[in-house]
């Protein structure tokens, strides 16, 4: 028989008492066994050889993908459709190992209609080409769900065409690198200017070839620097791209003139090398986590379609965006409520955890209001829409201006701030040396001024930040702190105020403290209670079950679960009722402000359990650590029932605000910013989305980074929450590294300027100095950031 310690052959989770035995292998549930059977009968057992216990337990509700059968919905999801062949790309969060890739790419063995399937592992997507005549979108989605790879299809997938990945930067790096290499070869002979017949005869040809290679470098690969400098100048801001663009242009023009009038060989090698290194820095900084999305709004979470019931009682599937006020909708178990509505039929047992972070489901009675974003956990319910999707309580938040696209960030990076002073300094040095040479030797003016502009081109400065921040991004990523882009590290270093959401952020989604008030229970009652709780899947029953010490499990004669009310269990003459105050017998208490479970045995009221939510590991330490460096505060959408417990955990006098609506949170952050604060918001639910977007750094805490998180600047794995303080500290150190490498690169510039000002800048000096400075900066920043990374935790 299956012991408690035995692990499921399919998914690797410990087998419970109700394990299934099949072919001498134990499975934790029927679902896992079914998947094994499917693989077994289709010659796909190699799946388990690649990686043992690679599977995921399937959780499929029949009818869930019925909407895919509707042509107009399917059409929006298909990438390609010519009537015969169709291509679709599904996002499958449960892809996690090589077995997943293998089985998903062998999908044609399970469904003959599939022509080809290809997995993109980093993005966790599978692209499936299938014959429309043999299978359909719905069948494929159902098949995937049955083998434990349920695709996530949301409102965001439909409608607008998918954004194509921008490959421009890759091309630019390629062009610059290609030209750089070739120009180096061609200019090599002239580095060692020996009076030689061959060299003399062909140098014109060589030089013009170099010119030809450098044209695409300036006007394609380096174009972004020129346009950015132009934009900066037009808005009267000297960003770091101004001296870079100046350097590029002067290099190009001076080199062209030099070869035209045979003054010299030009600096085409330095020019292409400069652009190549700059672009490499950009590329290094840009690559991030393709499987995460930082731009999600409610649409990534809302379903595409919902079941509508018309006047005659006929069910039809309609797109969520077509739902209007007054529609009657059928919400099945596990489905999400897409619009605010009134409950018409059935028992609402709504899980708002994605909205508020609160794990305890809310019981909703007929006629009461339901809010969009909740998930129905009970049986099917019928609701009447009172708003359209975009006008619901929660979704209205997204009409706020913070979510408006293309808002220019008010943040100026350190590099840009330095850029201004740097440009002014370079221009004054150029001017000063021009004046000096006007008296000393006017014929050298042109030479000296261009040389100053060339050598002062802040390549190394422009590289410091990308390589430091890019590397920090990777180091954080390895520690499960995923940032949207490199500027977030910079902003993080300047944070002086941190605001935390309570439910789901400071607390986990579990309960850990339990308090019983009432009459003492007999041994028999305790065991009956535990046995009854075991049968239920309700979150409260699960936590209560795991918290109760009683181990004597008996088999019940009778068991009933009333959705949204409670449980009933009996054995022999004894019976228990557990649940809400209306459900249990003779209960007079009403305590709506806490997670309370009432209990009655043999029709007599016994007492109640109070469950307290569990605070995350180490928050006391984290908070007192943060408090020394910044202001902290708590914003909660909840009632203030837990204020006392929180006060005990947090540093004294930490401001706490309760009963905050999503919009209140947004305005709170904005008012802090208006008083000059740099605000970090840490939250988890959709109700924090406004505050996350408004704050300077919005960090979404996530128990499972693949599932869902609102739009933010960074996603932090919940188990690493206690290290947040050291992450902030590490980013401050990273900024110090950047400043140090600025000093280092200024040293190089000073050496170069000596050659330039004295009028003796040779192409070979530039060609050595430029890569040398860039490479040593890259080496310095990489070593320094790795050293910082080792210090985290």
């Amino acid at each position: 028989m299956c012991m408690d310690k035995e692990l499921c052959f399919h998914c690797g989770l410990p087998c419970d008492i109700d394990a299934v035995l099949f072919q001498d292998k134990s499975f934790c549930c029927r679902g896992c066994k079914t998947v094994y059977e499917i693989f077994d009968s289709n010659d796909l057992k190699y799946y388990y050889d690649l990686q043992s216990a690679a599977g995921t337990s399937p959780d499929y509700t029949p009818g869930k993908f019925d909407f895919l059968g509707k042509p107009e919905i399917a059409e929006q999801l298909l990438e390609f459709n010519d009537g015969k062949h169709q291509v679709v790309e599904f996002f499958i969060p449960s892809i996690h190992c090589s077995s997943c890739i293998w089985v998903l790419e062998n999908l044609q063995k399970l469904s003959p209609g599939v022509v080809q399937s290809q997995v993109d592992f980093p993005k966790k997507t599978v692209r499936i080409t299938f014959k429309a005549s043999e299978t359909g979108l719905k069948e494929i989605a159902v098949l995937l769900s049955r083998i434990g790879y349920e695709p996530t299809i949301s409102l965001a997938d439909s409608g607008s065409a998918k954004k194509r990945e921008d490959k421009r930067l890759i091309y630019q790096v390629g062009v610059a690198g290609f030209a750089f290499g070739n120009i180096m070869f061609l200019s090599f002979p002239e580095y060692f200017e020996v009076e030689e017949f061959w060299l003399d005869q062909y140098k014109v040809l060589f030089r013009w070839l170099m010119f030809a290679f450098s044209v695409p470098v300036v006007f394609y690969a380096g174009l972004d620097y020129l346009t950015s400098a132009y934009k900066g100048l037009r808005s009267k801001f000297l960003n770091i791209d101004v001296p870079i663009a100046l350097g590029i242009l002067v290099l190009f023009i001076r080199s062209t003139l030099e070869i035209m009038f045979d003054w010299g060989s030009g600096f085409f090698d330095s020019l292409s090398g400069l652009v190549f290194f700059l672009l490499l820095g950009k590329y290094f900084q840009k690559r991030t986590y393709s499987f995460l999305s930082f731009e999600r709004d409610y649409k990534s979470y809302f379903p595409v379609a919902v079941t509508r019931i018309d006047e005659t009682g006929i069910e039809e599937i309609v797109q969520v965006k077509d739902v209007v006020k007054g529609d009657r909708l059928l919400i099945r178990h596990g489905e999400l409520i897409p619009v605010d509505g009134l409950l018409q039929h059935g028992d609402g047992e709504i899980d708002y955890s994605f909205v508020t972070g609160e794990a305890r489901p809310v019981h909703v009675a007929r006629g009461e209001k339901l809010f969009a974003g909740g998930k129905q956990l009970g049986g099917p319910v019928e609701i009447m829409a009172v708003e359209s999707v975009s006008q619901s309580y929660l979704t209205r938040l997204w009409s706020h201006s913070v979510f408006g696209k293309g808002e220019e960030s008010r943040f100026k990076t350190l590099t840009d701030r330095i850029g201004k002073r740097f440009t002014i300094a370079v221009l004054s040095i150029a001017l000063a040396s021009a004046i000096y040479w006007a008296y000393a030797d006017p014929s050298l003016i042109w030479n000296v001024v261009t040389a100053v502009l060339i050598i002062a081109c802040p390549c190394a400065i422009a590289l410091s930040a990308p390589f430091t921040l890019g590397n920090m991004l990777r180091i954080f990523g390895r520690r499960k702190f995923y940032l949207k882009d490199a500027t977030v590290v910079e902003k993080l270093a300047e944070i002086d105020t941190a605001i935390f959401d309570k439910t789901g952020t400071l607390t986990t989604r579990k309960y850990d403290d339990i308090l019983y008030e009432g009459n003492t229970l007999t041994q028999e009652e305790k065991s009956l209670l535990k046995s009854t709780l075991r049968a239920s899947n309700h979150p409260l029953s699960r936590s209560l079950y795991t918290l109760l010490k009683e181990q004597d499990i008996t088999v019940l004669d009778h068991y009933e679960e009333h959705y949204g009310k409670g449980l009933y269990g009996s054995k022999g003459k004894a019976s228990v009722k557990i649940g809400s105050s209306e459900f249990v017998d003779n209960c007079k208490e009403e305590r709506p402000d806490r997670s309370v479970v009432h209990l009655s045995a043999n029709e007599k009221y016994k007492g109640h359990f109070i469950l307290y939510s569990q605070y995350r590991d180490g928050i006391s330490r984290l908070m007192s650590d943060l408090e020394r460096r910044m202001d902290i505060g708590v914003l909660s959408g909840d009632h203030d029932g837990e204020r006392n417990r929180l006060e005990a955990l947090l540093p004294d006098l930490t401001p706490m605000y309760f009963n905050q609506s999503p919009e209140d949170k947004l305005f709170f952050v904005r008012s802090l910013q208006d008083s000059g604060k740099q605000v970090m918001m840490v939250g988890d639910g959709l109700n924090d989305a406004g505050a996350l977007a408004q704050s300077d750094v919005g960090i979404a805490l996530s128990e499972d980074i693949n599932v869902f998180s609102p739009a933010c600047d960074g996603i932090l794995d919940a188990e690493k929450f206690k290290f947040l303080g050291s992450y902030v500290e590490a980013s401050q150190k990273a900024m110090r590294v950047i400043k140090m490498s600025f000093v280092l690169s200024l040293l190089y510039n000073l050496i170069g300027l000596y050659f330039a000002v004295t009028g003796q800048l040779m192409p070979v000096v530039a060609a050595i100095l430029m890569p040398l400075s860039s490479i040593s900066i890259v080496a310095f920043t990489t070593l320094a950031t790795n050293w910082i990374g080792r210090d985290i935790n």
Binding site: D43, Y46, D49, F80, H85, V87, S98, I101, W102, E105, Q108, Q116, Q118, V119, D120, F121, P122, K123, R127, T129, E165, K167, I170, Y171, G174, F178, G181, N182, F185, W198, Y202, L205, L209
Partner: protein, 71 residues
């Protein structure tokens, strides 16, 4: 004509060929997913017993070759 022209032409043509190969690799999506192919390449051969391996590997080989050229 001097031999240097021939040599230069050849070297630039070779360089250009590599450049075109690079452009092609970007276009066909080789820079989009740099991880999965490294796993995929290890799949074949070990798959099954010898008797059905011929039948099994045929469609897969085709796939690996045409991975980027989808409809």
């Amino acid at each position: 004509m001097s031999v240097i022209y021939v040599l230069l032409t050849i070297s630039i043509v070779v360089a250009l060929l590599f450049f075109i190969a690079f452009i092609h690799s970007v276009r066909s999506g080789q820079y989009e997913d740099a991880y999965t192919p490294s796993v995929r390449i290890l799949f074949e051969d070990e798959v099954l017993k010898p008797e059905d391996s011929t039948e099994q590997t045929a469609p897969e080989t085709q796939k690996t070759n045409s991975k980027s050229k989808q409809i």
